[in-house]
């Protein structure tokens, strides 16, 4: 997920060219208070006419406690794919947003709930309440953990090693997994440190994060390389799916591979690897063997 400053037309018009899976058209931290109106107008017009191709379009609005939030909400009328809501502290923040968004959707003749939501968990309260936040609305398709504001919120020192954000990262992953949505890791702000970015992303993946936010196009490829399933993982997943299919065809309730039983978590992991491989254009959907009940 690539953050793009909302007041920069040269960048916005090229949003589809950076290779990101989705772009976040930012009205918040990358836009000065004096230029919030200008950014809002630019993003609104860009959503209506720039060709974003297959790239998903998210708009990060200003926090609900700022004087800009209510005007930012009007961007829903321009039909972004999702809104990213910063500084979410409680389920009530989500409930309130949901009501406002539903009102705009009804006014515009859009199906209720059609604009998705990505809360940013970046305060002490947000981390403590993340489970309540995650289940507060069916609009939520992902949780994004934001380490920079979180560190400021708790008064800890931000490091590349990341031990100070370990619990918060874990909490975000747990809540996202429990509700069945994506967990998007925090940005890595040193754009010149590719090695550090890859290490940070590998850690995030190990913890269960399913994606990572980035602040520069050059960070996109390294992150894709970390999250992409390896050839070995894809091959194993295909063999698991094939074994499940064979067992089903034989009427057997138990499938095994390499003399090990394939239980539900193994099957689910294999399906996920293959779905990710397809999504990242590493294989064709027809090669997965998915399609039955595997």
């Amino acid at each position: 997920m690539l953050f793009l400053p909302g007041n920069n037309p040269g960048i916005l018009q090229n949003a589809a060219l950076f290779g990101a899976d989705c772009v976040i058209l930012d009205l918040e931290d990358s836009v000065s208070p004096a230029e919030k109106l200008a950014a809002r107008n630019l993003v609104r017009h860009a959503l209506g006419s720039v060709d974003f191709g297959e790239v998903e379009k998210i708009v990060r609005v200003n926090a609900t406690t700022t004087p800009f939030f209510r005007q930012d909400l009007e961007i829903l009328r321009s039909r972004p794919d999702a809104i990213m809501l910063p500084k979410v502290n409680s389920a009530q923040d989500i409930i309130d947003f949901d009501a406002l968004a539903s009102g705009i959707e009804e006014d515009e003749g859009m199906p209720k709930g059609s604009i998705y939501l990505v809360p940013i968990i970046e305060t002490a309260q947000g981390v403590l309440n993340v489970w309540e936040i995650a289940k507060a609305s069916s609009r939520i398709v992902a949780l994004n953990f934001g380490a920079e504001d979180f560190s400021a919120s708790v008064g800890c020192q931000r490091t590349k090693e990341g031990s100070e954000i370990f619990h918060a990262r874990n909490s975000t992953v747990l809540a996202a997994a429990a509700i069945g949505v994506d967990a998007i890791d925090t940005v890595f702000i040193d754009v010149d440190d590719e090695k550090g970015l890859i290490e940070d992303t590998q850690l995030a993946k190990k913890l269960g994060m399913t994606g990572k936010a980035v602040i520069h196009p050059r960070q996109v490829d390294p992150i894709h390389s970390v999250f992409a399933p390896t050839e070995k993982e894809i091959d194993h997943a295909k063999r698991v799916v094939a074994a499940l299919k064979e067992a089903k065809e034989k009427g057997s309730g138990v499938a095994s591979l390499d003399r090990r039983m394939i239980d539900a978590p193994v099957a689910a992991r294999a399906r996920r690897v293959l779905e990710l491989a397809v999504a990242m254009n590493l294989m064709d959907e027809t090669e997965t063997g998915l399609g039955g009940d595997a």
């Binding site: 040269g10 107008n41 720039v50 005007q71």
Partner: protein
């Protein structure tokens, strides 16, 4: 922003939006003399796209209820969407209004 065909927007001072960065356009709007919209355009592509740029500016102003203005436009290769966005922002600043005020007047 809402369509402003049914109400006029009064420009009270000069309003500016945009930058001289590549792909942007700097729009400065001054209150007019009541004789329509006059545009002074500076653009490296004035010959090929001058008419289209002027149309985008004029359409944007008419849509938000501005019928008289002097517009200085310094184009650096802006797309239509950027021209319209910067024009609207400059007009709102010239009118000392924000989006909520425009909506309330509808």
């Amino acid at each position: 922003m809402v369509e402003g065909k049914n109400f006029g927007m009064e420009l009270r001072k000069a309003g500016c939006a945009g930058t001289l960065e590549s792909s942007d356009i700097m729009i400065t709007i001054h209150p007019g003399n009541g004789e329509g919209i006059e545009i002074v355009l500076e653009s490296p592509a004035k010959q090929q796209f001058g008419k289209a740029i002027n149309s985008a500016i004029t359409e944007s102003l008419m849509a938000i209820g501005v019928h008289s203005a002097l517009v200085e436009a310094k184009d650096r290769g802006a797309l239509d969407c950027t021209i319209k966005a910067r024009t609207e922002t400059a007009a709102l600043r010239a009118a000392e209004m924000d989006d909520d005020e425009v909506r309330a007047k509808k």
